[in-house]
C-alpha cells in the first residue's frame, strides 16, 4: 500500500486537468451557475474521451476496471475546477450502488450515454443512511419524497434504495424540484415519486455505498483546498500594499504556512482513504479534510480582501462547495462520533470497556 500517486494516476490527472483548463475555466463556471449549472457536454467528453465515468466499473461490465485511487485523482482535479459534472453523484455513488447487481445499466453509465443519481439525501451518512428519505415500494411502484438529492438535475435514471433493495426509476417518471442551493455548482433537489414505475435492480448496502462516497469526497475536498491555497499564494505575491507584497508580511506568511500543513495532512488522509477505504480511514479523512477545505476557502476569501467578496472572483464557488461538502455524507462531527466506537474512545456514558 502506498500513499503516493502512481504513474497511471498522474497520467490520468494530466489529461483531466488539461481538458478542464480548456473547457472549464472559473469564468465559464460562474457564467453558467445561475442558468444550467451541470455541464453535460463537458461530462460527455470526460466520459467518452478520458473514460472517467467507468473508472469503478469492471472491464467485463463495460468499464475501465480502475479503483478508488484513480477515481480519487479525478476528484482532486474536479474539485480544483469546481467542475459542474456528475462524477461523484453518477460515477461514484450511483455506480457503486449498482455494482453488486451487475445491472446492464452499468455499461451505459460507463460510456456516459446515460447518467444516474442515487436518490438519497446528500446529507445522509454511513451512520444515518436513511436521513431525508421516505420512500415506499408497492407492487413495483414507488411513492414518497427524498430531500437534498445531489445530481438529480442531471440524471436520466434515479436509483432508489428502499428497505435494502435498489430500484431504478426513469427521471421522467419522478418530479425533480431544484430550489436554490448553497453550492451553486452541485445543486440539490427534492425528488418526489407518486406511484412511479420502478424496476427492481437488486440488493443495496446503502451504508457501504455512502462510505465509499465519503472516502472519495475527501479527495475532492483536497482539490478544493489546493486550489484555494495556490490561488491565494499567487495573489499575496502580486498584491502590493504599504510598498510591499502583502505576502511578505509575517502575519500572512504564518497563516499560509499553517494552511499548507493542513493541506499536506489532507493529502495523506485522502490517499489513505482510497488505498484502504475502511471505516476508520474514511472517518479520519472526512473528519479532517472537510474542515480543511472550509478553513482554506475561508482564509482564501479573507486574504483576497474586498475582491474575495465579489461574485466575479471564483473564490465564492469554492467556499460554497467546501461548506456544502462539509455537511455531505456526514459532518466532521458525525465522523468523529463514529470513531469513538471504531477506535475505542468511549464517551462519558460509555462506561467500562
Amino acid at each position: 500500500m502506498t500513499l503516493l500517486y502512481t504513474e497511471i494516476e498522474e497520467e490520468l490527472r494530466a489529461s483531466v486537468r488539461a481538458l478542464l483548463a480548456d473547457r472549464c475555466p472559473p469564468a465559464a463556471v460562474i457564467e453558467r451557475v445561475e442558468s444550467e449549472p451541470a455541464d453535460l457536454d463537458l461530462w460527455k467528453t470526460l466520459a467518452g474521451e478520458i473514460g472517467v465515468a467507468g473508472l469503478l466499473i469492471p472491464e467485463e461490465l463495460g468499464g475501465a476496471g480502475a479503483g478508488p485511487g484513480e477515481a480519487g485523482v479525478v476528484l482532486e482535479e474536479l474539485g480544483r475546477a469546481v467542475a459542474p459534472v456528475p462524477f461523484l453523484t453518477s460515477a461514484v455513488l450511483a455506480t457503486r450502488a449498482l455494482l453488486p447487481t451487475r445491472d446492464a445499466l452499468l455499461g451505459e453509465l460507463a460510456e456516459g450515454r446515460r447518467t444516474a443519481a442515487l436518490a438519497v439525501s446528500f446529507a445522509a451518512s454511513p451512520y444515518r443512511p436513511q436521513r431525508g428519505s421516505a420512500v415506499r415500494a408497492e407492487g413495483g411502484r414507488l411513492s414518497g419524497t427524498v430531500t437534498g438529492v445531489a445530481g438529480a438535475d442531471a440524471a436520466d435514471v434515479l436509483l432508489v434504495p428502499v428497505d435494502g433493495e435498489l430500484y431504478a426509476v426513469e427521471a421522467a417518471a419522478a418530479v425533480v424540484t431544484a430550489g436554490p442551493s448553497l453550492d451553486l455548482t452541485r445543486p440539490v433537489a427534492t425528488v418526489t415519486f407518486d406511484r412511479a414505475e420502478a424496476r427492481h435492480a437488486g440488493a443495496c448496502d446503502l451504508a457501504a455505498v455512502l462510505r465509499l462516497g465519503a472516502a472519495l469526497l475527501a479527495s475532492e475536498q483536497l482539490g478544493v483546498a489546493e486550489w484555494c491555497l495556490e490561488t491565494t499564494l499567487g495573489y499575496v505575491k502580486e498584491r502590493h500594499q504599504f510598498a510591499r507584497p502583502v505576502g511578505s508580511f509575517q502575519a500572512i506568511k504564518h497563516r499560509l504556512a499553517d494552511l499548507w500543513l493542513d493541506v499536506v495532512r489532507a493529502r495523506a488522509a485522502a490517499r489513505n482513504a482510497v488505498a484502504d477505504p475502511s471505516a476508520v480511514s474514511v472517518a479520519v479523512a472526512q473528519a479532517w479534510n472537510a474542515g480543511v477545505a472550509v478553513r482554506v476557502a475561508e482564509e482564501a476569501l479573507q486574504l483576497h480582501g474586498g475582491i474575495g467578496m465579489t461574485w466575479e472572483h471564483p473564490v465564492h464557488l469554492y467556499l460554497k462547495r467546501a461548506k456544502s461538502s462539509e455537511i455531505a455524507l456526514g459532518t466532521p462531527g458525525d465522523h468523529r462520533a463514529a470513531l469513538a466506537s471504531l477506535v475505542g474512545v468511549p464517551g462519558p456514558e460509555g462506561g467500562e470497556q
Binding site: A257, A268, V345, P346
Partner: protein, 387 residues
C-alpha cells in the same frame, strides 16, 4: 536490495550472533553487518539500501538489544547525517560506529546566549594555530553535554565577512582542556541541558567538518536532519503521546466529560492525519523524491504534542507532580514519567531545533515561495552588526 534480501541478511546475522550474549558486542556486530542504518554505505553501518527497508530490520530485530534513541538522539539524528555528508573517509570510520552503538554520546554546540533563532550571528571564535584551532566562546541550552564525548560545533572563523560566510564547523572533543559544562536547571526541575564554556580549547584541524568558511552550509544539513528527526519519527496509529492519553482515558471512565470527549476525538483525528503525512513523507524520501514537507513535520508534531499533553493533565485532574528533584537527566523521558512532566517538557518542542515561528518562516519562504523578510544585515560584516 529488497525486503526478502534484507530479511535473509538479518537471519544470517542472527545465526552468527547471540542476542542473549554481551550487549555491546551484539550492537557492534550489528553495525558491522550493515544493519545499523541500512541506507548508509557499506562499511559504515549500512548496505546502501533504500531507507524504508530499515523498518524491516527493526521489526526482525525487535527482541534483541537496542540502542538508546533518547540518549543518543543528537548523535543519531544530527551528527551522523552531517558526518556522512561532509566528513572525510577517516572521520566517518572514526566516529560513526561508536556513535551508533552508544559508546560515545554526542551533543550539539550551536546556540549561544546572543544567537538562537539567528544562529548565524554566533560569536564563538576559532583561530587557526598551525595544525590546530583555538576555540573561545560560550554555548547555551546544550542538551546532554554532561554525558557527551563529542560535540558538533559551529564557530566564527572570519568576523570580517557577513555573518553566514565566516563560519566553520568542527567536531569538538568534550574531554579537551578548556571545555566546562555547567547544568541549567529547567522548567521540569531537572537539568537536561547545560551551558558550555569553551576557553582556549585546542582542536586539531582533522576535526574540521567541511571547508573553512563553509560552516553555515554544513549546519544547514544538521538542522534539516534535526527537524525530520524530531518531527518525523514513525509511530503506529494511536501511538506516541496519544497512547498515554488513551490509556488514561480508558482506565478512568469516571473522569470523562462530553467536552473532553469531543476534544479528544478531534486530537485523535489530527494525530492520525499527522501520522499519515509522516508516513507519506518517508515514502517520498525512500523513493528518492525529496519533498518539502520535512520542515513542516516538526511544526505539526510540536503543536500536537503540546495539545495532547495539556489535555492529559486536564483530564487527570491531578494537581500533583511526580518529582521536582534537581538532577542531571539521562534522556528525555516522555513515557516513563507523569502527565505533569510531559506537559512541561513538551513546551520545549516548539523551541528546540528551531522555533515554530522560524519553521513557519521557512515553510512560507522556501516551500511556498513567499517573499522573504526585509534583511538589514545581509551585506554587513559580522563584526559591524549591532549587538
Amino acid at each position: 536490495m529488497n525486503e526478502a534480501d534484507i530479511k535473509q541478511r538479518v537471519a544470517e546475522f542472527l545465526a552468527g550472533h547471540d542476542p542473549a550474549g554481551d550487549r555491546l558486542e551484539f550492537l557492534r556486530a550489528r553495525f558491522d553487518a550493515g544493519l545499523a542504518w541500512v541506507w548508509f554505505p557499506e562499511g559504515l553501518g549500512g548496505l546502501g539500501a533504500s531507507r524504508e527497508l530499515q523498518q524491516v530490520v527493526e521489526r526482525e530485530l525487535a527482541d534483541t538489544p537496542q540502542i538508546n534513541g533518547g540518549k543518543q538522539g543528537i548523535g543519531l539524528g544530527m551528527a551522523a547525517p552531517t558526518i556522512l555528508a561532509f566528513g572525510t573517509e577517516e572521520q566517518k570510520r572514526r566516529f560513526l560506529r561508536p556513535l551508533w552503538t552508544g559508546e560515545e554520546i554526542w551533543c550539539q554546540l550551536f546556540s549561544e546566549p546572543g544567537a538562537g533563532s539567528d544562529l548565524a550571528t554566533l560569536a564563538t571564535r576559532a583561530v587557526r594555530d598551525g595544525d590546530e584551532w583555538v576555540v573561545d566562546g560560550q554555548k547555551v541550552w546544550t542538551s546532554g553535554a554532561h554525558h557527551a564525548r563529542w560535540a558538533i560545533l559551529v564557530t566564527r572563523t572570519d568576523p570580517e565577512v557577513p555573518k553566514h560566510r565566516g563560519l566553520t564547523y568542527f567536531v569538538c572533543d568534550m574531554n579537551a582542556p578548556g571545555v566546562e559544562v555547567r547544568p541549567l536547571r529547567q522548567i521540569t526541575g531537572e537539568a537536561e541541558f547545560n551551558e558550555v564554556f569553551l576557553t582556549g580549547v585546542r582542536l586539531s584541524d582533522d576535526l574540521r567538518l567541511g571547508e573553512v568558511g563553509d560552516g553555515w552550509r554544513v549546519a544547514q544539513t544538521t538542522l534539516m536532519n534535526e527537524r525530520v528527526a524530531i518531527g518525523g519519527a514513525p509511530t503506529r496509529r494511536g501511538g506516541g503521546v496519544m497512547a498515554a492519553v488513551l490509556d488514561a482515558w480508558r482506565e478512568r471512565p469516571e473522569l470523562r466529560t462530553h467536552d473532553l470527549h469531543q476534544r479528544l476525538l478531534s486530537l485523535w483525528v489530527e494525530a492520525e492525519a499527522t501520522r499519515l503525512s509522516g508516513a507519506r513523507l518517508r515514502e517520498q524520501l525512500a523513493a528518492g523524491q525529496p519533498g518539502p514537507e520535512g520542515s513542516g513535520m516538526k511544526l505539526s508534531f510540536a503543536k500536537l504534542n503540546q495539545a495532547l499533553t495539556g489535555f492529559d493533565v486536564e483530564f487527570n485532574r491531578d494537581l500533583g507532580y511526580d518529582d521536582w528533584t534537581f538532577r542531571r537527566s539521562e534522556d528525555v523521558d516522555f513515557f516513563g514519567r507523569g502527565p505533569g512532566y510531559r506537559y512541561l517538557r513538551a513546551k520545549g518542542n516548539s523551541i528546540e531545533g528551531g522555533t515554530s515561528e522560524i519553521l513557519r518562516n521557512i515553510v512560507a519562504e522556501r516551500v511556498l515561495g513567499l517573499p522573504s523578510e526585509p534583511r538589514v544585515d545581509k551585506d554587513v560584516p559580522w563584526k559591524d552588526l549591532p549587538r
